[in-house]
């Protein structure tokens, strides 16, 4: 027969101080783990959710990023005429040649300067990114020194509100709108007209990349291969989501440090939990013997104590999750290892992160509980009673 759960809960309640301190120790460990997992979840989302599977990104052969791309502008008409490209609202092939440059902007809080990606695009570029929504003002007008900024750029950098001017290239640019990209990689960009940008950065006659919109998923794949196989072009085509998925490697340093920190802290906390559970067992040795005398079996005592330890760590997990809630959605930035510019992302406590934290806590509870519980179950009844 199993020992009632209430027995464990009452025990934890009786030793409030000890339970509280151990749970708080576990809570801090869980908080750290959640913080790191949420950071990675936000970063992953920034890359994984970027890109439309119908958009084919074209780069110079051998190039791995738009920033280091660069091909002759004379090749663009050839690209545009390839079969399988969807028509835009004017009945023309939906394609956009783009120029990607990096500029330096000061952070609003004065903590230094950051590289920000500026993307010059053709009018079709906006049409090809239906997921990006305008939230303030209007889109830029081709031929004008106008830019639209993402909402996180607006939040994080000085002079990025509608009506402000940003200084880069050969002079001031007016901010005419703010867009919301839904937390993906575009969230870290400033957009404007490609020709204006090209003349400002002395890059006439060349583009960084080109985007082609395919009619459907099958033709997107075909289009991608058509670009890569065309001997005249010397270019590589890849689906936009594939390109961004590759950039998740930017999170590698955070991932490495995160896993290291979480594992070391978890081991430390498991030892602490083990200590508490050993104390609980030692404290109750007569009680345990009595339970045995009444007829509870060894397995049920083992389960009961392991369970108690897991409850203890779940308590810690709950506190940890609550402690982290205020940080949910906090935005931060890190350097994109591929483009050298800042990638903005937010801490995301997704259900997966919360679930991960709970599993993490349960593992700590099991590690800390099994040995003491084993000892409790194995004790000789007579010696324990005589204690």
């Amino acid at each position: 027969m199993a020992i009632p759960i209430k027995y464990n809960l009452r025990n934890l309640k009786m030793r409030k101080g000890l339970t509280g301190m151990t749970a708080l120790g576990i809570a801090l460990t869980v908080t750290t783990a959640i913080f790191l997992m949420a950071l990675l979840a936000g970063l992953n989302r920034a890359f994984v959710n970027t890109g439309d599977p119908l958009n084919v990104l074209v780069l110079r052969k051998g190039s791995i990023a738009e920033l280091s791309g660069g091909f002759d502008a004379a090749l663009f008409p050839t690209l545009r005429e390839l079969p399988g490209i969807a028509k835009d609202s004017h009945g023309e092939p939906m394609a956009s040649a783009e120029l990607v440059v990096v500029i330096v902007l000061p952070r609003k809080d004065g903590t230094g300067e950051v590289n920000v990606t500026v993307r010059g695009m053709m009018p079709d570029g906006l049409e090809m990114r239906p997921g990006v929504k305008l939230v303030q003002g209007r889109w830029f007008t081709p031929g004008q020194r106008e830019v639209v900024v993402s909402d996180s750029i607006q939040k994080r950098f000085a002079h990025a509100n509608v009506g402000d001017t940003i200084e880069f290239g050969k002079g001031p640019w007016t901010v005419v709108g703010v867009f919301d990209a839904g937390g993906n990689a575009y969230e870290s960009e400033i957009w404007g007209d490609v020709n204006q940008m090209a003349s400002d950065f002395d890059r006439q006659g060349g583009y960084s990349s080109a985007y082609l919109r395919a009619t459907d998923a099958v033709s997107a794949d075909a289009l991608k291969h058509r670009v890569s196989d065309d001997q005249r072009l010397k270019m590589d085509g890849l689906l936009e989501p594939e390109y961004y998925a590759k950039q998740t490697s930017s999170g590698a340093p955070i991932k490495f440090v995160g896993i290291m920190v979480a594992v070391i802290m978890a081991i430390g906390s498991s030892f602490a939990a083990m200590n508490t559970m050993y104390a609980a067992v030692a404290y109750r040795s007569r009680e345990i013997a009595t339970l045995r005398v009444i007829g509870f079996s060894r397995p049920s005592i083992l389960t009961s104590f392991v369970f108690e330890s897991v409850v203890l760590s779940l308590l810690g997990a709950a506190v940890g999750i609550v402690l982290m809630l205020p940080f949910n959605g906090m935005t931060t930035g890190t350097s994109n290892a591929v483009t050298f510019s800042e990638i903005v992302f937010s801490l995301r406590m997704t259900p997966a992160v919360i679930g991960g934290a709970v599993v993490f806590a349960v593992i700590m509870g099991l590690l800390g509980g099994i040995a003491p519980a084993w000892q409790a179950a194995r004790r000789d009844i007579l010696t324990a009673l005589r204690d």
């Binding site: 903590t111 430390g268 602490a272 050993y278 104390a279």
Partner: protein
């Protein structure tokens, strides 16, 4: 029996509890030491004295924008400048994309490079060989060891930013501490292969006479190109490195919050153990007092025990951290590990100090309570 002997005896009376506490504190201090080491190697390391004499000049907008090559001769005319070389980050791949094959490659001018980077040690005949061969490369000794390169070996780099795959012959192998793991080759090779790169450079590395000249030279360079088509930003090598770290995000707050959480956790763990330990000895304290131990004596007994436990844990943690950093810097996948990622003596001292403070803090409250219990009450205690 001396006081110290008594403390040690009582600390290990309940061996399992003491060992678990020591391990728990040890793991926390391992983490704390690692975090402090990261902090130090990022923010406090000023680098070698040679490094303090170098100024990096890049395009004001970003490192991704190139500078004209003629800037070099102009920078040379500035008083205080000893030598200046163009540097270009090639950003190529070696063999494939795998991270263990990744290292930095720089295109520079072999004729003057070693005047700027005088902290690199290279045999003179190898330098001469590198300067003679336009397709020659100079590599780091550790990099050479890792890939099994020898003088005269031919290697091919695959360009990503530049549409060229340089075929280079290793002509020189340099040693430097800490090892930067960089390959250098002739920028003329790149200029000839890539038409659009002709006449440009990624950034300039300038060596000045003394450390004191650095701020003046920085200002002089930036003023010189203030109205030029490509304005510049000059900073010391240290500041240049810091700006890269700043790009990673708010690393300072990140490290500090982890350190805070760690210290708080060990405080809890240690206080918990001491509370348990004191509680189980209430009647013993009463006996000690009956024997004539003063309150202060009892207090120092318990605090001493708590300090002993956390300092032992601290020593274990620090030793583990030293081993860990050693292993990490030798592991083949250590790409992003900054040079100089080693535990230094000041870090060890700070970590031990933290351990001792944790011991004092966590031991005081339970010990105070124990010292205050009246003898009669203590003797009656069952526990």
């Amino acid at each position: 029996m001396t006081l110290a002997g008594f403390i040690v005896k009582s600390a290990f009376r309940n061996k399992r509890r003491s060992i678990l506490t020591i391990l728990s504190i040890g793991f926390s201090l391992l983490l704390l030491t690692l975090m402090m080491t990261i902090w130090r190697s990022f923010y406090l390391d000023k680098g070698a004295p040679e490094s303090a004499k170098r100024v990096i000049t890049r395009h004001k907008t970003s490192l991704a924008n190139f500078l004209p090559l003629y800037y070099r001769d102009k920078i040379r005319t500035i008083p205080g400048v000893v030598a200046v070389v163009p540097m270009t980050w090639f950003g190529g791949k070696y063999i494939d994309d795998r991270p263990e094959h990744s290292f930095t490659q720089m295109a520079t001018d072999p004729d003057e490079y070693l005047k700027v980077a005088s902290d690199k040690i290279v045999p003179p005949d190898q330098v001469a060989a590198w300067q003679r061969d336009r397709a020659g490369a100079m590599v780091d000794a550790e990099l050479a060891k890792k890939f099994g390169w020898k003088i005269g070996d031919r290697i091919t780099l695959l360009g990503t930013i530049f549409e060229v795959n340089p075929e280079l012959t290793i002509r020189a192998i340099y040693t430097m501490d800490p090892s930067p793991r960089i390959l250098y080759f002739n920028e003329k090779y790149l200029e000839e292969a890539v038409p659009w790169f002709k006449g440009t450079a990624g950034f300039y590395d300038t060596r000045v006479e003394t450390e004191k000249d650095v701020p003046e030279v920085e200002k002089a360079i930036d003023d010189m190109f203030h109205n030029a088509p490509a304005p510049t930003k000059s900073e010391s090598e240290h500041a240049f490195r810091l700006s890269f770290i700043a790009q990673l995000g708010n690393v300072k707050a990140f490290i500090l919050s982890i350190c805070g959480a760690v210290v708080f956790t060990i405080l809890l763990v240690s206080a918990n153990t001491m509370a348990m330990s004191v509680r189980s000895r209430t009647s013993e304290v009463a006996v000690l007092k009956t024997l004539g131990f003063t309150k202060r004596r009892v207090l120092s007994l318990f605090v001493g025990e708590s300090i002993a436990l956390s300092v032992i844990g601290g020593i274990l943690g620090i030793v583990a951290a030293i081993v860990f950093t050693q292993l990490l810097s030798k592991s083949p996948v250590a790409v992003g590990v900054p040079a100089g990622f080693v535990v230094t003596l000041p870090t060890v001292v700070v970590a031990l100090f933290v351990a001792a403070v944790v011991g004092v803090l966590s031991g005081s409250i339970p010990a105070y309570n124990a010292s205050q219990t009246s003898i009669v009450e203590g003797l009656r205690h069952i526990g």
